[in-house]
């Protein structure tokens, strides 16, 4: 029984991948002749995958190297966003006044696409790198803001009473009670934020043409090397999945306390 379950656990995902691969082959054969099939994609991209850390030119680099540039940018933008998001979430959660003043603004800013923010970033900073960070930070911070806010509101009265009874200073109350109580919510926010940051990175690299998975994708589109586009798409998916899993693990650990 256990063996069959394990087999199903391995086989079913494999079957899913196989199905998508067949669909892909079918599409490239019947629908769009420009779309390279899986085998052709592999043939044309294997240099990037098999030598993932080789640097041959500014854009012509191994896929891991490209992904690492994107990841670094994502990390910077995400941290920058979190630095603003967490205090903002705490303020929104603890002060009704602050909430009333800023909630409408936040609700308006939240749905703005990275494609809209990026030009503003370029105007503000006149350079692509800070503009990209600005965009990532601004787009990815909202889930952290909202979740932190909810976390602060959800702190049980019991914990607040402990702080009152022990006569904790404002700082101790924050570090020993409020912050740990909010941490699980914050991590949920972090996970969602990181997902968004990874979505945004591709768009911002495409628009600014900086080296990274997104920049490479855009360059190869312009040079009509379509198999590399597929390589990039797969890489983006796999890295995004890995990021989400990692954050999921961190979140579980926090919640287990």
């Amino acid at each position: 029984m256990k063996f069959r379950q394990a087999l199903a656990g391995l086989l079913l995902p494999f079957a899913g991948i196989l199905f998508v691969g067949l669909l892909w082959t079918f599409l490239s054969a019947k629908v769009s002749k420009d779309l390279p099939n899986p085998i052709k994609t592999w043939e044309e991209s294997k240099l990037y995958v098999l030598k993932p850390l080789e640097k041959r030119g500014e854009m012509d680099q191994g896929i891991l190297l490209l992904a690492s540039y994107s990841l670094k940018r994502v990390a910077q933008g995400f941290v920058l966003g979190a630095i603003f998001a967490v205090p903002l979430g705490f303020l929104l959660g603890s002060s009704q006044l602050f909430f009333k003043a800023f909630d409408p603004t936040i609700q308006v800013l939240r749905p703005i696409s990275p494609l809209a923010w990026l030009p503003l970033g370029l105007i503000l900073f006149r350079q692509s790198e800070p503009a990209a960070l600005f965009t990532i930070a601004l787009c990815s911070m909202w889930p952290t803001v909202i979740n932190t806010m909810h976390g602060v509101r959800a702190i049980p009265q019991d914990y607040r009473n402990v702080a009152r009874v022990l006569q904790l200073s404002a700082w101790s109350t924050f570090t020993k009670v409020l912050f740990p109580a909010t941490l699980p919510y914050m991590f949920t926010g972090f996970r969602l934020s990181l997902g968004i940051a990874w979505l945004v990175i591709v768009a911002s690299e495409m628009l600014t043409g900086t080296p990274g998975v997104g920049g490479f994708l855009w360059q190869e589109y312009n040079s009509l090397v379509y198999s590399h586009i597929l390589l990039c798409i797969l890489t983006i998916g796999v890295v995004g999945f890995a990021l989400d899993r990692l954050m999921g693990l961190a979140e579980m650990r926090i919640r287990a306390v």
Binding site: D158, Y159, N161, V162, R164, V165, L166, Q167, L168, S169, S172, K176, V177, P180, A181, L183, V257
Partner: protein, 277 residues
């Protein structure tokens, strides 16, 4: 004027009036117990007396001053323990010690923390988080946290409710000892639904009538010589009288018609209100 003084306290939750005209005065160094049925408003009363909640009417004062917030030099054991789940038992207690004795050295604070935990029999479980402790162990951590700060005033909300009879008796003795040995007098307001426990520990006992609109009866003094134990109290004549008195008050002010009539006829064992499961 008494040390702790509640006058004409009323408290409503929405349309529901839980406490009506509650008067309570506790002298410095006195041990006062409040007994009452479940949901009669004991926790509400204690949170008002300790400044965690505001009364709708009436006044609360401690040491002659109107109470504004939880008093310094006081400690409380919450009915729900209220331990911080991200800290170990040790860290939970140490947090209280740190806040109470900011100018002590770290070593001295740790020592005090350990002593408090050992006193409640948790020397082996100090490194565990609340989620890894049993209900009774959590309650003991909460007790240790309150005792560790050498409070002048102790508010206890069914502090031994989750404990077995043996541990309960041990901690009752600990508590009695703590109140007597301390250089300065410790004033205790304790809630319990165990009348025998109240008799063992208290100088005076108040009964809170069944809610809604619960109110306190007159004080029942306990003049049995100390130290008292559950065994000495069991058959003592005065203790029996007190049990009957409390049962009389609780039943005659109860809305349950079945218990009206002659409470004297209730066998004395049944008079000790049992701890809820």
């Amino acid at each position: 004027m008494s040390f702790i003084e509640l006058e004409g306290v009323c408290k409503c939750y929405g349309p529901r009036r839980v406490l009506r005209n509650v008067n309570l005065s506790v002298e410095r160094g006195e041990f006062v117990s409040i007994v009452g049925c479940s949901a009669s408003g004991k926790t509400t009363l204690l949170s008002i007396a300790s400044g965690l909640r505001q009364a709708d009417h009436g006044s609360v004062s401690i040491g002659g001053k109107a109470l504004a917030g939880f008093p310094r030099q006081a400690a409380i054991v919450f009915q729900s323990y209220s331990l911080l789940p991200w800290f170990t038992a040790f860290e939970n207690v140490r947090l209280a010690v740190e806040a109470a004795f900011p100018d002590w050295t770290v070593a001295r604070r740790n020592e005090k923390t350990e002593a408090a935990l050992r006193m409640v029999g948790l020397g082996q479980a100090m490194a565990k988080r609340p989620s890894q402790l049993s209900g009774g162990m959590r309650q003991r951590v909460a007790i240790a946290r309150a005792f560790a700060v050498d409070p002048e005033i102790l508010f206890l909300d069914e502090p031994f409710g989750a404990l077995d009879a043996l541990t309960r008796a041990t901690l009752q003795q600990e508590l009695a000892r703590l109140c007597q040995v301390a250089e300065r007098p410790v004033t205790v307001v304790a809630i319990t639904n165990n009348v025998d426990e109240a008799i063992v520990l208290s100088d005076r006992i108040f009964a809170l009538s069944k809610g809604p609109e619960a109110t306190l009866g007159t004080a029942i003094p306990v003049s049995l010589p100390r130290p008292r134990t559950a065994a000495t109290v069991l058959h003592d004549e005065q203790a029996v009288r007190i049990r009957v008195k409390i049962a009389q008050y609780l039943t005659s002010h109860s809305s349950k018609p079945a218990l009206h009539g002659r409470p004297e006829a209730i066998p004395s064992r049944a008079l000790a209100l049992e701890v809820e499961a």
